[in-house]
Each structure stands twice: as C-alpha cells, then as structure tokens.
Symmetry: D3
Subunit: 138 residues, 6 copies
C-alpha cells in the first residue's frame, strides 16, 4: 500500500534556512556537522537540520536565550545521555546572550527535578565547557 506513494520530495528551502539558522546559533557552518554523518547516515543529518533548525528554531514563541536555557535544562535532565546536548548548547546559550550565572542557575533548577548526581555531572561538565568557551574568546 505504501509503495504507491512517491518518495517525499526534499524541501530544499527548509534545508537551506536550517543551515543558515545553525550558523547563526552555533557560529559554525552546518556542513561541518553534516560531514560527521556523511559515511553513516547523511539522511539523518538532513532531518536534524531541517526539523531542529529549519522548523523549531524558526518559531517565535521563545526568544533565543530562553530557548537555549530550556534545551539545556531538558538535556541535563537526560543524565549521561544528555552531556553531548550540554556540549552543543551551552556555548550557544552564551553566544545568544545568556550569562554564566544563568546557565548554572538553570542547572541548579534542574537539580530539584532530576536529582543531585545528574545536576552534579551537568554542573561539572558546564564548568569545563564554559572554561573552554572562555579560553576560545580570549
């Protein structure tokens, strides 16, 4: 039944905007991220750029700083699984105007729902990430 439905057309405009927003948020070209997936699953890289940066980051319901603090909170709550989320989004949060105190404030707020070890690991990781960001800026 499904085979009668033609393949979904790639939405090139959406992909292009996703790449532009990726660059605006992270300061790095999306291509570098996509290259990491080119030998495993390039389609997955494309979905991610299109959905996350093409769709979700194009919304106007949250300002960018709140958006980054929110995604840091959700990532931290995932524990070990979310450490890479912190590595990706904490530098973004600083770029779009969050202070170091707000990042730690968000992680302390996470500790009241996700528990001490998750918050401790996130705060320790954030300390390292922020010191790397700082080093890069200087």
């Amino acid at each position: 039944m499904l085979d009668e439905i033609a393949t979904t057309p790639r939405s090139d405009e959406r992909f292009k905007q996703g790449c532009e927003r990726f660059m605006a948020v992270t300061g790095f070209p999306a291509q570098a991220f996509l290259d990491n997936l080119k030998d495993s699953s390039p389609d997955f890289g494309r979905y991610l750029i299109e959905w996350v940066f093409g769709d979700v980051y194009g919304r106007d319901d949250l300002d960018l700083k709140t958006r980054e603090l929110v995604v840091i909170a959700a990532g931290a709550a995932l524990g070990a699984t979310g450490i890479d989320v912190l590595k990706f989004h904490i530098p973004n949060a600083i770029r779009v105007g969050a202070t170091r105190e707000q990042v730690f404030g968000a992680l302390i707020q996470v500790s009241i729902v996700a528990g001490i070890p998750i918050a401790l690991a996130a705060i320790t990781a954030a300390g390292q990430i922020l010191s790397d960001v700082n080093g890069a800026v200087e």
Copy 2:
C-alpha cells in the same frame, strides 16, 4: 541575527504524503490525530506528520513489518513513557503483517536489555491491546 532569516515555508507536498502514509500504516485518517492537538499545539502535530510519516516512513531501508517491530522495541524500552507508543504501534504491526507471536517475541527480546518490570508491563499492555485489536476485527 536569526530574525533576518524568513520563516520556513511549509512543505505542503511532504505534509500531504505524511497524511497518506499515516492512513496506510494506521488505518485511520491523520486528521483525527491532528484534531487532538488543534487547541494545544497544531504546529507540533504537523511536525510529527511531516517528519515521522513524511520522511521516516518513506524510507526503503526496512520493510514495514520490521519497522513496526523495531519501533515497538524502542518504545517498550522507554518503560512507562513508552506505553502509548505500544498502543499506537502494536495495532499497526498486526495490520502490516506481524503475527501476535512476533510481537511478544520482540517484547521478550527487549526484556534482555530493558529488564523484567519494563518487559512485564509491555507484555501485559500488549495482551490487552491485541485483545482489543482482535475484538475490533471480529
């Protein structure tokens, strides 16, 4: 910086194919699903149809039966969070040709990685879901 980038255009073709595949897989019109979200977050409903059924279910790397068993396994591994995944996908699995034995076989296979209580809850839920499916068919 981001506000200079125009809003992502809705990819209507992709949405339309997503709705058709939703119907082909579940036997229900996508509109019924979308209506549940119309007062809360209609955009989220649209993303889901576009990405899950427009993009992922349009892939040809897995046949539909394996695809449904795989998503049942991943959903079961999420524990209480994934019970709704089972309610949605177990009837789909049967529709696309999986047997009752294969569904339980997949959940027993999940038990070796996700543990006894998760598997016990999934198997109990599956028993109920399959008996409802059966009742509906007769």
Copy 3:
C-alpha cells in the same frame, strides 16, 4: 563514628521562608502540600520545602518566569515520571507571567532532545492543565 554527631537542628527560618515562597509561587499554602505527607514521611515534605523553596527559589540568577520554563523543560524530559512536575509547575508558570504560547514553545523545544512521544504526552497534558487553569480563572 556518626553517632557521636548530634542530630541536625531544624532550620526554622529557612523552613518559614520556604513556606512563604511556596505560597508566592503556587498560590496555595505549603501546609496543604505538607499535609499530604504527614502520615507517610513528614520529614521528606520538610526537606522539599526547605531545599526547593527555601534555598533554590531564593536565588537571584534566574527570573521566576525563566525558572518555571526551565523546570517545566526538565520535568517534561523525564517522560511519564515528570507528568506530575508539569501539573505542579505549568500553573505556576502562568501565575508568574509566562504565556500559553511560551509553555508550548518550551515543550516543542524539549521535543528536539527528548523525542516525540515524551513531547506529545507533555503537550497533551499541558493542554489539559492549561484548560483547567483557564476554567479556574474565569
């Protein structure tokens, strides 16, 4: 060795401030919450008021609205475990000035890290919670 250390004194001032902040954030007296635990573990109720509302909500690193959006994001990321977090904190978020759109925006942002079923359950729950809040206000 530990038995030589006297029992920790209850920090009454901290508890009192926790109760006041609980009322300020939720609109309900802390006593109603504490009464739910009086036959099981009253000490745990006290720890919660003291740490969460005495310590963490007394911090000045995040404004209250961001604090509530952050805790909603972390709670949503916990899946079924966090639904009660949403029931508690979404009405608080509205009370301290978040809009309905910001709450859904935060949950959509969570979807990019915690996945579709977690976000779908959170958005569905939020729709119900917000409609109850609205009903109560009118």
Copy 4:
C-alpha cells in the same frame, strides 16, 4: 547455525523452587501471577519465576530484608516505570521483617540520587501501599 542446537530443556526443579520461594516471599501462590500471563506470554512468566525466584532469591549474599530494601530502592529509582515494583515489593519487605520507617528511610535515601519528584511519587505510593497492607492485616 543456531537451528542445529536443540531447544533448551525446561529446568523443572528450578521452576519448582522458584514457585516455592515466590510463595515464601510474597505470601501468594506463583500460579496466580503466572495466570495473568497465560494468554499473552506464558514463557515470560516462567523465565521470571525461574530467574528471579529460582536463581536470585536463592542466593545467600543478602538477607531477605536487605534484599527487599535494595529492590525497592532500584525500583523507586526507575520513576513511573517502577511504581509496580513498589506495589509488589513493599508488602514483601514488611512480610520479611522491614519496618514502615525503614521503607520510608530507603525512599528518602533514594531521593538523594533519583531526585525529588521520583521520591515524592514513591513515598506517596508507599503510603497508600502500606495503608492497604495494614488494612489487610487488621
């Protein structure tokens, strides 16, 4: 390759001992538990009795009371997924000699690693379970 290996023989002695230990720990016949699975996956019920009660509960490294407090702690840490673990094991803990205070003490100890909402839900569930146990005893 695997099809040349004959089916694993059922270890009837191990199953029989599992049933006896199930009865000794829970106060209920294993058959009642197995009957719940007879229309879905009776094999899974058998694995559970054999491994959990045939193998693990036959070990002599932990006394039964500690064993039950340990499994309650692990179950509580699973959040919503583990509530059924609490329903099954808290009455067992009381049966094998744990006090009500020790059960709540274990759940408070869990709160320091698994977080406030998980502990709050577990303590609330335990309060109800213990009041049912008490009602049944009187």
Copy 5:
C-alpha cells in the same frame, strides 16, 4: 522460611546450550565473556548466558536478523546506558545477515521515539562499530 528450600541446582544443559548459541551468534567463545566476570560476579555471567542465550535466543518466534535489529533498537533507546549493547549486537546483526543500511534504518526508526540526541549518539557509535567490523573482515 526460605532457608528450608534447597539451593537451586545449576541447569548444566541449559548453560551448555547458552554457550553454544553465544558462539553461534557472536563468533566468540562464551568463556571469554565469562572470564571478564570471574573476579567480580561469576554467577551473574552464568545467569546471563543461561537466560539470554540459553532461553531467549532458543526461541523460534523471531528470525535471528529481526531479533538483532529489535535488540539494537531497544539498546539504542536506553541512550548512554545502551551504547555497550550496540557494541555487542551490531556486529552480531551483520554476522546473521543484516545489512549496514538496515542497521542505520533501525536507528533512524528509533529516533522517532527516543529523540534526536539518543539517535545521533547511536548512529555515530554504529558508524564506528561498523567500520571496525569492516576492517576486521578485510
């Protein structure tokens, strides 16, 4: 009460079949795996071989290829906790006839329930595992 029940006899036939199936699925002798646990918990190694490979892999409800894709999906859904599951089972999946495309297809299917960061980590790990498998074959 429990001490009147004699110790569960080791089911040597089941263990022997478990070892044979372990070898058939993984290409490595079970003894190498068991040796890793000989100084910590040899009993646990034995339970694992007996239950996972003696019982579950002896079932005929799923063919081996589907069984491996299902366990990869469940393992991937566990996030950081499941990366070792991928390291163990992805080479097995290839051995029993799954293609590289099917492995990535399963992980993309997992992304729709377990979220982007979990799928991204799994796909990245799979790319590395598959390149090691390939290197070993050549």
Copy 6:
C-alpha cells in the same frame, strides 16, 4: 512578590554537621569535594553537603550499611548516569562494614529490575572500584 522575602540565611550548624558526616562516611574532608565546585557553582556544593549529609545521613531509620547498599542500588538503576554514584558510594559501603559479596549481591538484585546491561556495567565498574579500594588498603 517573592522579592519581598529576604534571602534564606545559611544554616551554618547544618553545614558543619554535613561536613563532619561527609568525613565520617567517606574518609575524605568535604572541603576537597567542595573545591571541585568552587569555580562553577559553590552554592550547589553547599546544598549537597547540607541536604545529603546534613539532613539525610543524620536520620536514624536505616543503619549506615543498609543506607549505602540502598543508595548503590538506586544509583546502579540509573545506568550510565549512576556510575559516578557507584564510584562514590561503593568505597563508603566497604568502609561502613559491607562485604564485597553484599555489594555484588545488591547489584545482582538490581539486575532483576533494571535489566542485564545496567547490571553488567555496574558489576564491571564495581569490580574495578573494589580492586582500587583493596589496592589502597594494602
């Protein structure tokens, strides 16, 4: 509304007792732990000492050995997120009188609720941790 409530006073007596109990349980001065957080979030370090060691470890509902086995069980159940909990608490358990067999017994008991891969990772980590503890004692 909240800004009318003065900042929560630091409960110095509770902090002091927390530090003493930290030393009694772990054998290390709390200051070493606090120093790790001094550049990121010293407040979080203080909350942890006050709540975990000031409040919870001051309770008399569980003896210290059971308390440590319970927290090891809950930590193990968290999977990859909880490995640091094991690194912190397994040496404590040995210090307060648990045997090596009881630690592994607790982890095997965890395997029946949290699954094989979580238990396997915990048992493997425990083997390494216990061999380091042993090396340090000799």
